[in-house]
């Protein structure tokens, strides 16, 4: 199918700024869905609030644009009530890990089959550039005009500790890897988390003097390496990309089917 057939043209133009990385993630997602040959009517996109969240409206799947931070909670209701659906949950960094942090760790702990894509641009874009829990110490944002004294989460570490059974990271520079990892995440039988480093040239790039969109993507190219790369040993500051966790554990909806059998035998 042509990629445009996965898009709701009626919904366009999109709201993203020129140079925003979110469109690249949308592209990667559609390529993954196309490669997998998923039926559009079996996909539900559930999103929260923020620039990232608008992605759910642009795609021709069932789409549920919810409340700030609550996407995974809504998605849990969708998935458990109809487990045959593929549930994909794109989230922003503040959306997923500040206001939605509790839902994030508990969805991971339950190991309910769905794919959480954390579109990490390290800033609240829609409200005009405030710091997020992923901005990091020393960064600049409108609500930290003298420099950020908040430390950041590592999404991969957090998701791993919380019990996610698939955890991966990539960036908008690595487009082929992006589509490949989204495919693997969706195929995973359990709770999967994919962190995608994505540029916000309008707020994060400008205020932190990183440069425009292409310069920000250059940073992803320079500052990240594949897991297990020798470069990481030489320079521990490099950020690793790839699959960090991939394991089989009982999945929540299948476990609940066993509960139903037990209850009925009573």
């Amino acid at each position: 199918m042509a990629l445009k057939d996965y898009i709701r043209q009626r919904f366009f133009p999109h709201i993203w700024c020129p140079g925003c990385g979110h469109g690249i993630i949308l592209n990667g997602l559609l390529r993954a869905v196309d490669t997998m040959g998923l039926d559009k009517k079996n996909i539900v996109m559930v999103s929260g609030i923020g620039c990232s969240a608008r992605i759910s409206g642009y795609v021709d799947f069932h789409s549920l644009h919810t409340l700030h931070g609550r996407a995974l909670a809504f998605a849990t209701g969708v998935k458990l009530s109809k487990p045959e659906l593929n549930v994909i949950v794109p989230m922003g960094d503040g959306d997923a890990l500040a206001i939605g942090g509790n839902h994030f760790i508990h969805a991971a702990r339950r190991n309910i089959e769905m794919t959480a894509i954390v579109m990490n641009n390290r800033v609240y874009g829609m409200t005009g550039g405030q710091f997020s829990p992923l901005s990091g110490y020393g960064t600049m944002a409108t609500t930290v005009p003298y420099g950020n004294i908040d430390h950041d989460f590592d999404v991969v570490d957090l998701a791993t500790s919380a019990g996610a059974t698939f955890v991966a990271r990539t960036s908008t520079y690595h487009v082929h890897e992006l589509a490949e990892l989204i495919t693997k995440a969706i195929n995973h039988k359990g709770f999967s988390v994919l962190e995608v480093l994505t540029q916000c040239p309008t707020y994060f790039g400008r205020r932190n003097r990183i440069g425009d969109a292409s310069e920000m993507m250059e940073v992803y190219k320079k500052n990240t390496v594949r897991i297990g790369s020798k470069k990481k040993q030489e320079n521990p500051d490099l950020l690793e990309r790839g699959i960090f966790v991939q394991k089989e554990l009982p999945e929540y909806c299948r476990e609940y089917d066993n509960i139903i059998s037990k209850a009925r035998q009573k």
């Binding site: 709701r8 009626r10 919904f11 559009k40 009517k41 079996n42 539900v44 559930v46 759910s56 409206g57 021709d60 799947f61 069932h62 789409s63 549920l64 644009h65 919810t66 409340l67 609550r70 995974l72 909670a73 809504f74 998605a75 849990t76 209701g77 969708v78 998935k79 458990l80 009530s81 109809k82 045959e84 659906l85 509790n102 839902h103 508990h106 609940y256 509960i259 139903i260 037990k262 209850a263 009925r264 009573k266």
Partner: protein
């Protein structure tokens, strides 16, 4: 098959009624005094093939039942004061996105964590106004097991009819009280099925275009029609918009679909009201004490009556006005600072004849408490 007779708690009656109504998804979080609803759902739902999930908080519980409703299921959550506060955000979402679901609030003493194990009726206005923005809401209540059963089913039926969340306000006393309940045979009480669209595949389906009667046929997630659901103001396809004309049309629709159907939604009981010279108005556990007093006074030949409200919102102003028309004294009995009393004063021709008899100390108001208030108003002294 005969009606089954059980001797159970009010909270358990609520569960039995929800099952009767066809619930197949419940999400909740433990909180006194509503926990028995979650516990019993955890036992009973999987027996019917339904799903129960204990979420990480009440916020996510409310979100989860909305998600599950969209896949075509009858859904419910149950909570109490503090949890009800947390649910207000997603309650507003359910109103805006027009998602049928039922929220039970077994009221305890507030504000804040207040009196977890004691009774109160302080969440009446929260049910009406708790979530931000203009909106209408349906709120039902009950004072005994027979009515808890009926009102729970009504809550599901009204939710489906008007595509709206419905709040069922119980209280600690009715929730924990054990008394006899006859569970009717299946089919005895009519159930409202979800109205689903007849629009065929490939034809443009408008999930948010009301029919002439104001109803909106739904399509389940996973079915042929793919559409957008949002808490933003949206057009007939569910796409966000800020066009004033569409915004105006949607807010009017959300309010009118409830308010214009107030007579159809209103539920009440009248006891000895025809010749009443003193009319009590009450609901929930307070109405039980009031009824006891009214029956006592009737035996002594006093012309007292009771209007028991079973639906609080939209407020049945016409019913109240009519019932109070020729009555010189109206006493509203409730366990709060007069949340329904204010509504009654607004509804009647002469607000000066309306008084409040209440208890706000976590103790069930007794017939003696109400009698004492009555005597004070009558100038007789306690």
């Amino acid at each position: 098959m005969h009606d089954a007779i059980k001797f159970i708690q009010g909270n358990e009656v609520c569960v039995e009624a929800a099952l009767y109504a066809g619930i197949n998804f419940f999400a909740g979080y433990p909180i006194t005094p509503s926990t028995e609803i979650a516990e019993q759902m955890a036992v009973r739902l999987p027996e019917t093939g339904g799903k129960f999930i204990q979420m990480e908080d009440e916020i996510s519980s409310m979100c989860a039942i909305i998600g599950a409703s969209l896949t075509g299921h009858k859904t419910m959550t149950a909570t109490s004061g503090p949890g009800f506060s947390l649910m207000q955000e997603a309650l507003g979402y359910a109103i805006m996105a027009e998602i049928p679901c039922v929220i039970v609030n077994v009221m305890r003493g507030g504000p804040s964590t207040g009196l977890p194990t004691h009774v109160g009726q302080g969440d009446v206005c929260q049910a009406r106004y708790g979530t931000h923005g203009d909106h209408a809401i349906v709120t039902l209540t009950a004072s005994n097991h027979h009515d808890i059963f009926r009102m729970t089913i009504e809550a599901f039926n009204i939710a489906e009819t008007y595509r709206t969340p419905v709040i069922l306000l119980l209280d600690e006393v009715t929730g924990h009280l054990r008394e006899k309940i006859e569970i009717p045979e299946p089919g005895k009480i009519p159930l409202t099925k979800r109205l689903r669209t007849a629009v065929k595949s490939g034809v443009d389906y408008h999930p948010y275009l009301p029919r002439e009667d104001g109803r909106l046929p739904m399509s389940d997630f996973g079915d042929i029609h793919r559409y957008n659901v949002t808490g933003l103001y949206h057009d007939m396809w569910g796409f966000p918009t800020d066009k004033p004309q569409i915004v105006y049309g949607l807010i009017r629709h959300l309010v009118d679909k409830i308010e214009n159907n107030t007579p159809k939604i209103t539920r009440f009981r009248k006891y000895y009201t025809k010749d009443a010279e003193t009319l009590f108005i009450s609901y929930g556990a307070s109405a039980r004490s009031t009824l006891h007093l009214v029956e006592n006074r009737r035996r002594r030949g006093e012309n007292v009556g009771l209007l028991e409200l079973q639906s609080l919102w939209p407020f049945p102003a016409d019913i109240v006005r009519e019932a109070c028309q020729h009555v010189p004294l109206v006493i509203v009995v409730e366990m709060n600072m007069g949340q329904i009393t204010k509504e009654v004063k607004l509804a009647v021709d002469d607000p000066k004849k309306v008084f409040l008899a209440n208890r706000i100390d976590g103790v069930l108001i007794t017939p003696t408490d109400i009698r004492n208030t009555l005597r004070v108003i009558q100038g007789k002294g306690v």
